[in-house]
Symmetry: C2
Subunit: 183 residues, 2 copies
DNA sequence: CAGATATGTCTATTAAAGTATACATATGTC
DNA sequence: GACATATGTATACTTTAATAGACATATCTG
């Protein structure tokens, strides 16, 4: 993703300017060429881990401080553009609103279920937590041996490392919001 | 540093095998070619951030879980091989025992001071903490307006973002251990 | 103003990251 | 045993990260 490169560009430039260092200074401190540093700061390059390592080590900072997004950001994700996947012959639709980002650690979905629609998920890898909120309609959610009937406004949290099922038991379209939190 | 590549190789292989995925599975989940994944796992490649990003995102893990060294490791740093820098005409010698590593966040030095030897350090960047232990001999350490006389066994902790000085006030060789902790 | 030093940009070259695909070796399954 | 599928390895090729060094602008000093 070139979102990465942008974060990196921003953070590197910020740190360099906070310390009032020139590109030459940083090149000398890190062993990375001036030209390359300039490109990274402009977000025009996709550096290798060893280059990142040299920069972090030379400046005595952590990786995360280089890779983190700017503290104040402002970012729109449009439901329209969200890629979606269908199940149950198109009667169960999953929209990826906020895709997983390693710096964030979770992802966000909207789910639409036609009346009677059904979905079964295999157990995810250890350490996944699901948080489901019913926006509209009703749903029955099962995980392992547990079952729960949810209506509009209800939220359920459960661990996703077990077989689980979603079902729309009502006669109307049911809409859910789902957060998947990893480890 | 190709220490990075080794950590990455180890962690990726570990995660892949824990989840019993094939290289093809991971290639499909991440969008990174099988050949490249194989090379990364063998530590023969130095991937770009976007490749790391694709792997982390596809596997739903954080960067640090990919970059961290194996939990159980065992690593020798020899004082003999340590690069050293001289000051005060060779009478003040600094040995870098453990160089800075972005995952660790601190570095470790040994300092040898001949009788009367002296060193002055400009203020480091904000957030540096120095921890000095006298192994042998005596030293006077000043930071800003503060001064302290240390003898064998004494340890002093102070923030390094101010002008500070080390001086051997004794008639014998003084040896210090110094830890620099960043942010 | 002339000369010197510092700072970022641009260009040409090299080295290597990344892909696609074919190959070899297992591991079943009938 | 023969066929099919799955899994990791090796090869050829394209793209691009990274370097070194030249160039263009500042900024300062005598």
């Amino acid at each position: 993703m070139e979102q990465m490169s942008r974060n990196l560009a921003f953070q590197l430039k910020k740190i360099r300017q906070q310390r009032s260092l020139s590109l030459d200074d940083v090149a000398k401190a890190t062993g990375v060429s001036k030209a390359q540093l300039a490109q990274i700061e402009k977000g025009e390059s996709n550096p290798t881990v060893s280059t990142i390592w040299k920069i972090a080590a030379g400046l005595r900072i952590s990786f995360s401080s280089l890779l983190q997004p700017p503290t104040a950001h402002f970012m729109k994700f449009s439901s329209k553009d969200a890629p979606h996947v269908d199940e149950d012959e198109g009667r169960y639709r999953v929209y990826s609103i906020i895709p997983y980002d390693p710096e964030r650690g979770w992802e966000f979905y909207k789910i639409e279920m036609e009346p009677g629609a059904f979905s079964r998920s295999e157990a995810h890898t250890e350490g996944v937590e699901e948080t489901v909120t019913v926006i509209q309609g009703q749903a029955v959610i099962s995980a392992g041996e547990m079952h729960e009937q949810l209506v509009e406004g209800d939220t359920l949290v459960f661990s996703g490392h077990q077989l689980h099922e979603y079902k729309n038991t009502s006669e109307e379209l049911t809409i859910l919001h789902l957060i998947l939190q990893y480890k």
